[in-house]
Subunit: 193 residues, 2 copies
Protein backbone atom coordinates (compact mmCIF):
# COMPACT_ATOMS: atom_id res chain seq x y z
CA UNK A 1 0.00 0.00 0.00
CA UNK A 2 1.29 3.42 -0.95
CA UNK A 3 0.69 6.33 1.41
CA UNK A 4 -1.67 8.83 -0.20
CA UNK A 5 0.05 12.14 -1.04
CA UNK A 6 -2.02 14.08 1.56
CA UNK A 7 -0.82 11.83 4.38
CA UNK A 8 2.47 13.67 4.92
CA UNK A 9 0.74 17.06 5.41
CA UNK A 10 -1.73 15.51 7.82
CA UNK A 11 1.04 13.76 9.77
CA UNK A 12 2.91 17.04 10.02
CA UNK A 13 -0.17 18.81 11.40
CA UNK A 14 -0.79 16.03 13.92
CA UNK A 15 2.82 16.13 15.04
CA UNK A 16 2.75 19.91 15.39
CA UNK A 17 -0.35 19.66 17.61
CA UNK A 18 0.66 16.57 19.58
CA UNK A 19 0.49 18.49 22.89
CA UNK A 20 -3.22 19.21 22.31
CA UNK A 21 -5.30 16.05 22.77
CA UNK A 22 -8.26 17.82 21.14
CA UNK A 23 -6.35 18.16 17.88
CA UNK A 24 -7.48 14.58 17.28
CA UNK A 25 -11.10 15.72 17.47
CA UNK A 26 -12.74 16.39 14.13
CA UNK A 27 -16.27 16.69 12.77
CA UNK A 28 -18.03 13.97 10.80
CA UNK A 29 -20.93 14.90 8.52
CA UNK A 30 -23.41 12.25 7.40
CA UNK A 31 -26.87 12.31 5.86
CA UNK A 32 -29.86 11.04 7.82
CA UNK A 33 -32.73 8.88 6.55
CA UNK A 34 -34.65 11.99 5.49
CA UNK A 35 -31.71 13.24 3.46
CA UNK A 36 -30.81 15.94 5.99
CA UNK A 37 -27.30 16.72 7.20
CA UNK A 38 -25.97 15.64 10.59
CA UNK A 39 -22.66 16.62 12.15
CA UNK A 40 -20.83 15.58 15.29
CA UNK A 41 -17.36 15.47 16.80
CA UNK A 42 -15.45 12.19 16.57
CA UNK A 43 -11.97 11.23 17.73
CA UNK A 44 -9.33 10.11 15.27
CA UNK A 45 -8.03 6.67 16.29
CA UNK A 46 -5.22 6.36 13.76
CA UNK A 47 -5.16 4.76 10.34
CA UNK A 48 -6.20 1.20 9.65
CA UNK A 49 -3.01 -0.83 9.10
CA UNK A 50 -1.66 -0.73 5.54
CA UNK A 51 -4.34 1.61 4.33
CA UNK A 52 -5.33 5.26 4.07
CA UNK A 53 -8.56 4.64 5.99
CA UNK A 54 -9.20 6.72 9.11
CA UNK A 55 -10.46 4.91 12.19
CA UNK A 56 -13.13 6.18 14.56
CA UNK A 57 -15.29 4.48 17.14
CA UNK A 58 -18.99 4.65 17.78
CA UNK A 59 -21.76 3.05 19.80
CA UNK A 60 -24.24 0.83 17.93
CA UNK A 61 -27.00 2.61 19.88
CA UNK A 62 -26.12 6.07 18.49
CA UNK A 63 -28.22 7.79 15.81
CA UNK A 64 -25.43 7.87 13.26
CA UNK A 65 -25.57 4.09 12.84
CA UNK A 66 -28.90 4.30 10.98
CA UNK A 67 -27.57 7.19 8.87
CA UNK A 68 -24.47 5.26 7.87
CA UNK A 69 -26.30 2.02 7.16
CA UNK A 70 -28.67 3.86 4.80
CA UNK A 71 -26.00 6.07 3.21
CA UNK A 72 -22.42 4.99 3.89
CA UNK A 73 -20.74 8.26 2.97
CA UNK A 74 -19.19 10.91 5.14
CA UNK A 75 -17.07 14.02 5.08
CA UNK A 76 -14.84 14.86 8.01
CA UNK A 77 -13.64 18.39 8.55
CA UNK A 78 -10.49 18.81 10.59
CA UNK A 79 -9.23 22.20 11.67
CA UNK A 80 -5.78 22.65 13.23
CA UNK A 81 -5.55 25.88 15.20
CA UNK A 82 -1.76 26.35 15.48
CA UNK A 83 -0.90 25.71 11.85
CA UNK A 84 -4.20 27.26 10.75
CA UNK A 85 -5.06 24.59 8.24
CA UNK A 86 -8.13 22.60 7.35
CA UNK A 87 -8.47 19.12 5.91
CA UNK A 88 -11.76 17.99 4.44
CA UNK A 89 -11.81 14.26 3.72
CA UNK A 90 -14.75 12.78 1.85
CA UNK A 91 -15.26 9.08 1.35
CA UNK A 92 -17.11 5.86 1.93
CA UNK A 93 -17.79 4.72 5.47
CA UNK A 94 -17.52 1.14 6.72
CA UNK A 95 -19.14 0.19 9.98
CA UNK A 96 -17.54 -2.75 11.76
CA UNK A 97 -20.20 -3.97 14.17
CA UNK A 98 -19.87 -6.98 16.48
CA UNK A 99 -21.83 -9.12 14.00
CA UNK A 100 -19.89 -8.30 10.86
CA UNK A 101 -18.07 -11.36 9.58
CA UNK A 102 -14.82 -9.83 8.40
CA UNK A 103 -11.13 -9.77 9.07
CA UNK A 104 -11.81 -6.20 10.20
CA UNK A 105 -12.83 -7.73 13.56
CA UNK A 106 -9.13 -7.80 14.38
CA UNK A 107 -8.92 -4.04 13.89
CA UNK A 108 -12.09 -3.56 15.96
CA UNK A 109 -10.55 -5.57 18.78
CA UNK A 110 -7.23 -3.77 18.53
CA UNK A 111 -8.83 -0.31 18.75
CA UNK A 112 -10.85 -1.46 21.79
CA UNK A 113 -7.70 -2.68 23.49
CA UNK A 114 -5.98 0.66 22.97
CA UNK A 115 -8.81 2.66 24.59
CA UNK A 116 -8.50 4.07 28.08
CA UNK A 117 -10.57 2.43 30.82
CA UNK A 118 -12.87 5.45 30.96
CA UNK A 119 -13.47 5.37 27.20
CA UNK A 120 -14.33 1.64 27.37
CA UNK A 121 -16.63 2.26 30.32
CA UNK A 122 -18.82 4.61 28.29
CA UNK A 123 -19.97 1.68 26.17
CA UNK A 124 -21.48 0.18 29.33
CA UNK A 125 -23.46 3.36 30.10
CA UNK A 126 -27.21 3.67 29.48
CA UNK A 127 -28.55 4.22 25.96
CA UNK A 128 -27.05 7.51 24.62
CA UNK A 129 -29.58 10.18 23.64
CA UNK A 130 -32.46 8.59 25.58
CA UNK A 131 -34.09 10.31 28.54
CA UNK A 132 -31.53 10.69 31.29
CA UNK A 133 -31.26 7.79 33.70
CA UNK A 134 -31.14 9.51 37.08
CA UNK A 135 -29.71 6.59 39.02
CA UNK A 136 -25.98 7.45 39.26
CA UNK A 137 -25.08 3.76 39.54
CA UNK A 138 -26.08 3.35 35.89
CA UNK A 139 -22.99 5.38 35.05
CA UNK A 140 -20.72 3.33 37.31
CA UNK A 141 -20.94 -0.08 35.65
CA UNK A 142 -18.40 -2.78 36.33
CA UNK A 143 -15.27 -2.52 34.23
CA UNK A 144 -15.64 -4.24 30.85
CA UNK A 145 -13.06 -6.67 29.52
CA UNK A 146 -9.88 -5.02 28.28
CA UNK A 147 -9.53 -7.51 25.47
CA UNK A 148 -13.04 -8.39 24.25
CA UNK A 149 -15.08 -5.41 22.99
CA UNK A 150 -18.62 -4.97 24.25
CA UNK A 151 -21.25 -5.87 21.65
CA UNK A 152 -22.31 -2.27 21.05
CA UNK A 153 -18.75 -1.14 20.32
CA UNK A 154 -18.25 -0.36 16.62
CA UNK A 155 -15.25 0.56 14.60
CA UNK A 156 -15.97 3.11 11.88
CA UNK A 157 -13.72 3.53 8.86
CA UNK A 158 -13.55 6.39 6.39
CA UNK A 159 -11.89 5.65 3.08
CA UNK A 160 -11.04 9.07 1.58
CA UNK A 161 -11.52 9.60 -2.13
CA UNK A 162 -11.48 13.40 -2.13
CA UNK A 163 -9.28 15.52 0.12
CA UNK A 164 -9.30 19.31 0.24
CA UNK A 165 -6.38 20.84 2.13
CA UNK A 166 -6.47 24.56 2.91
CA UNK A 167 -3.56 26.42 4.54
CA UNK A 168 -4.62 29.80 5.88
CA UNK A 169 -1.00 30.73 6.61
CA UNK A 170 0.70 31.75 3.40
CA UNK A 171 0.70 34.62 0.98
CA UNK A 172 -2.08 34.59 0.03
CA UNK A 173 -3.08 31.06 1.15
CA UNK A 174 -2.63 27.62 -0.30
CA UNK A 175 -5.23 25.05 -1.18
CA UNK A 176 -4.78 21.60 -2.70
CA UNK A 177 -7.29 19.10 -4.02
CA UNK A 178 -6.55 15.38 -4.09
CA UNK A 179 -8.81 12.97 -5.97
CA UNK A 180 -8.46 9.20 -5.87
CA UNK A 181 -8.58 7.68 -9.35
CA UNK A 182 -10.01 4.31 -10.36
CA UNK A 183 -6.51 2.86 -10.48
CA UNK A 184 -6.10 4.02 -6.83
CA UNK A 185 -3.51 6.64 -7.70
CA UNK A 186 -4.14 10.23 -6.60
CA UNK A 187 -4.61 13.26 -8.84
CA UNK A 188 -3.42 16.46 -7.20
CA UNK A 189 -4.20 20.03 -8.10
CA UNK A 190 -3.35 23.40 -6.60
CA UNK A 191 -6.53 25.49 -6.52
CA UNK A 192 -7.50 29.00 -5.48
CA UNK A 193 -8.15 29.33 -1.75
CA UNK B 1 -37.98 37.91 20.72
CA UNK B 2 -37.10 35.60 23.59
CA UNK B 3 -33.60 34.21 23.83
CA UNK B 4 -33.65 30.46 23.27
CA UNK B 5 -32.75 28.50 26.43
CA UNK B 6 -29.51 27.17 24.91
CA UNK B 7 -28.22 30.71 24.29
CA UNK B 8 -26.90 31.26 27.83
CA UNK B 9 -24.74 28.09 27.73
CA UNK B 10 -23.38 29.07 24.34
CA UNK B 11 -22.64 32.64 25.50
CA UNK B 12 -20.82 31.26 28.52
CA UNK B 13 -18.66 29.02 26.32
CA UNK B 14 -17.86 31.88 23.94
CA UNK B 15 -16.93 34.13 26.84
CA UNK B 16 -14.73 31.45 28.38
CA UNK B 17 -12.85 31.06 25.08
CA UNK B 18 -12.74 34.75 24.12
CA UNK B 19 -8.92 34.72 24.04
CA UNK B 20 -8.96 32.06 21.29
CA UNK B 21 -10.09 33.55 17.98
CA UNK B 22 -10.53 30.03 16.59
CA UNK B 23 -13.23 29.29 19.16
CA UNK B 24 -15.53 31.08 16.73
CA UNK B 25 -14.70 28.51 14.06
CA UNK B 26 -17.19 25.68 13.73
CA UNK B 27 -18.13 23.08 11.14
CA UNK B 28 -21.15 23.32 8.87
CA UNK B 29 -22.58 20.17 7.31
CA UNK B 30 -24.82 20.38 4.26
CA UNK B 31 -26.04 17.90 1.65
CA UNK B 32 -24.90 18.20 -1.96
CA UNK B 33 -27.02 17.78 -5.09
CA UNK B 34 -26.33 14.03 -5.12
CA UNK B 35 -27.52 13.71 -1.54
CA UNK B 36 -23.99 13.29 -0.17
CA UNK B 37 -22.65 15.01 2.94
CA UNK B 38 -20.30 18.00 2.80
CA UNK B 39 -18.54 19.63 5.73
CA UNK B 40 -16.40 22.74 6.13
CA UNK B 41 -15.24 25.25 8.70
CA UNK B 42 -17.14 28.52 8.93
CA UNK B 43 -16.70 31.50 11.24
CA UNK B 44 -19.48 32.55 13.61
CA UNK B 45 -20.36 36.23 12.95
CA UNK B 46 -22.75 36.74 15.85
CA UNK B 47 -26.51 36.43 15.98
CA UNK B 48 -28.88 38.21 13.65
CA UNK B 49 -30.45 41.07 15.64
CA UNK B 50 -33.51 40.11 17.69
CA UNK B 51 -33.30 36.46 16.70
CA UNK B 52 -31.69 33.16 17.53
CA UNK B 53 -30.26 32.85 14.01
CA UNK B 54 -26.51 32.37 13.65
CA UNK B 55 -24.72 34.46 11.04
CA UNK B 56 -21.96 33.22 8.74
CA UNK B 57 -20.54 34.55 5.51
CA UNK B 58 -19.79 32.84 2.24
CA UNK B 59 -18.80 33.54 -1.33
CA UNK B 60 -21.46 33.11 -4.03
CA UNK B 61 -18.82 31.26 -6.07
CA UNK B 62 -18.30 28.53 -3.45
CA UNK B 63 -19.69 25.01 -3.86
CA UNK B 64 -21.92 25.21 -0.82
CA UNK B 65 -24.19 27.74 -2.53
CA UNK B 66 -25.61 25.08 -4.87
CA UNK B 67 -26.01 22.67 -1.94
CA UNK B 68 -27.91 25.22 0.12
CA UNK B 69 -30.11 26.38 -2.75
CA UNK B 70 -31.16 22.77 -3.42
CA UNK B 71 -31.49 21.76 0.24
CA UNK B 72 -31.53 24.67 2.70
CA UNK B 73 -30.72 22.69 5.82
CA UNK B 74 -27.56 22.48 7.83
CA UNK B 75 -26.10 21.23 11.05
CA UNK B 76 -23.21 23.03 12.67
CA UNK B 77 -20.99 21.27 15.16
CA UNK B 78 -19.10 23.46 17.59
CA UNK B 79 -16.49 22.06 19.94
CA UNK B 80 -14.99 24.17 22.74
CA UNK B 81 -11.67 22.77 23.92
CA UNK B 82 -11.30 24.45 27.34
CA UNK B 83 -14.78 23.76 28.65
CA UNK B 84 -14.85 20.45 26.75
CA UNK B 85 -18.35 20.86 25.41
CA UNK B 86 -20.05 20.39 22.08
CA UNK B 87 -23.03 22.16 20.58
CA UNK B 88 -24.79 20.68 17.58
CA UNK B 89 -27.28 23.08 16.03
CA UNK B 90 -29.56 21.86 13.27
CA UNK B 91 -31.86 24.11 11.31
CA UNK B 92 -32.92 25.83 8.13
CA UNK B 93 -30.42 27.92 6.20
CA UNK B 94 -31.15 31.26 4.55
CA UNK B 95 -28.78 32.59 1.95
CA UNK B 96 -28.76 36.37 1.62
CA UNK B 97 -27.22 37.01 -1.79
CA UNK B 98 -26.77 40.44 -3.39
CA UNK B 99 -29.94 39.92 -5.45
CA UNK B 100 -32.27 38.89 -2.67
CA UNK B 101 -34.98 41.49 -2.16
CA UNK B 102 -35.29 41.48 1.59
CA UNK B 103 -34.78 43.61 4.65
CA UNK B 104 -31.99 41.11 5.39
CA UNK B 105 -29.84 43.23 3.02
CA UNK B 106 -29.25 45.53 6.00
CA UNK B 107 -27.80 42.63 7.97
CA UNK B 108 -25.69 41.59 4.98
CA UNK B 109 -24.31 45.11 4.75
CA UNK B 110 -23.69 45.34 8.47
CA UNK B 111 -21.73 42.09 8.58
CA UNK B 112 -19.63 43.27 5.61
CA UNK B 113 -18.85 46.52 7.39
CA UNK B 114 -17.66 44.68 10.48
CA UNK B 115 -15.19 42.50 8.54
CA UNK B 116 -11.47 43.16 8.62
CA UNK B 117 -9.87 44.56 5.48
CA UNK B 118 -8.18 41.24 4.80
CA UNK B 119 -11.46 39.33 5.13
CA UNK B 120 -13.15 41.71 2.68
CA UNK B 121 -10.24 41.41 0.27
CA UNK B 122 -10.75 37.66 -0.10
CA UNK B 123 -14.03 38.31 -1.90
CA UNK B 124 -12.02 40.05 -4.62
CA UNK B 125 -9.73 37.06 -5.08
CA UNK B 126 -9.98 34.65 -8.04
CA UNK B 127 -12.71 32.00 -8.14
CA UNK B 128 -12.25 29.74 -5.06
CA UNK B 129 -11.69 26.06 -5.80
CA UNK B 130 -10.74 26.63 -9.47
CA UNK B 131 -7.28 25.86 -10.80
CA UNK B 132 -4.77 28.08 -9.05
CA UNK B 133 -4.15 31.45 -10.69
CA UNK B 134 -0.38 31.75 -10.61
CA UNK B 135 -0.22 35.50 -11.13
CA UNK B 136 0.34 36.85 -7.59
CA UNK B 137 -1.32 40.16 -8.54
CA UNK B 138 -4.63 38.32 -8.72
CA UNK B 139 -4.42 38.00 -4.95
CA UNK B 140 -3.56 41.69 -4.43
CA UNK B 141 -6.70 43.36 -5.74
CA UNK B 142 -7.54 46.93 -4.90
CA UNK B 143 -9.31 47.36 -1.58
CA UNK B 144 -13.07 46.95 -1.90
CA UNK B 145 -15.52 49.46 -0.43
CA UNK B 146 -15.83 49.28 3.34
CA UNK B 147 -19.53 50.04 3.19
CA UNK B 148 -20.94 48.39 0.06
CA UNK B 149 -20.47 44.60 -0.10
CA UNK B 150 -19.08 43.04 -3.25
CA UNK B 151 -21.70 41.22 -5.30
CA UNK B 152 -20.38 37.77 -4.48
CA UNK B 153 -20.53 38.39 -0.73
CA UNK B 154 -23.36 36.42 0.91
CA UNK B 155 -24.70 36.34 4.40
CA UNK B 156 -25.74 32.89 5.55
CA UNK B 157 -28.20 32.35 8.39
CA UNK B 158 -28.90 29.22 10.38
CA UNK B 159 -32.18 29.13 12.28
CA UNK B 160 -31.77 26.35 14.89
CA UNK B 161 -34.70 24.07 15.58
CA UNK B 162 -32.79 21.29 17.31
CA UNK B 163 -29.82 21.83 19.63
CA UNK B 164 -27.80 19.06 21.27
CA UNK B 165 -25.48 20.25 24.03
CA UNK B 166 -22.92 17.81 25.44
CA UNK B 167 -20.66 18.62 28.38
CA UNK B 168 -17.78 16.19 28.68
CA UNK B 169 -16.75 17.65 32.04
CA UNK B 170 -19.06 16.31 34.74
CA UNK B 171 -19.71 13.11 36.57
CA UNK B 172 -20.45 11.31 34.38
CA UNK B 173 -21.26 13.91 31.68
CA UNK B 174 -24.26 16.06 30.87
CA UNK B 175 -26.25 16.25 27.69
CA UNK B 176 -29.31 18.35 26.90
CA UNK B 177 -31.65 18.32 23.93
CA UNK B 178 -33.59 21.41 22.91
CA UNK B 179 -36.38 21.22 20.33
CA UNK B 180 -38.20 24.23 18.93
CA UNK B 181 -41.97 23.75 18.96
CA UNK B 182 -44.52 25.07 16.47
CA UNK B 183 -45.43 27.87 18.87
CA UNK B 184 -41.70 28.83 18.88
CA UNK B 185 -41.18 27.81 22.50
CA UNK B 186 -38.43 25.32 23.28
CA UNK B 187 -38.83 21.87 24.74
CA UNK B 188 -35.81 20.83 26.82
CA UNK B 189 -34.77 17.38 27.96
CA UNK B 190 -31.81 15.99 29.85
CA UNK B 191 -30.59 12.88 28.01
CA UNK B 192 -27.92 10.25 28.51
CA UNK B 193 -24.50 11.34 27.20
Amino acid sequence: MKLAPWRSSLSRALHQHRSQPYSRYLQLATVDSQGLPANRTVVFRGFLADSNQLQFITDSRSNKIAHIEAKPWGEVCWYFNKSREQFRLFGQLTLVTANLKSTLQFARQEVWQKLSDSARLQFAWPHPGKERVENPEAFSPSKPSETEPLNNFCLLLLNPEKVDHLQLIGEPQNRYLYLRQRDQTWWTQSVNP
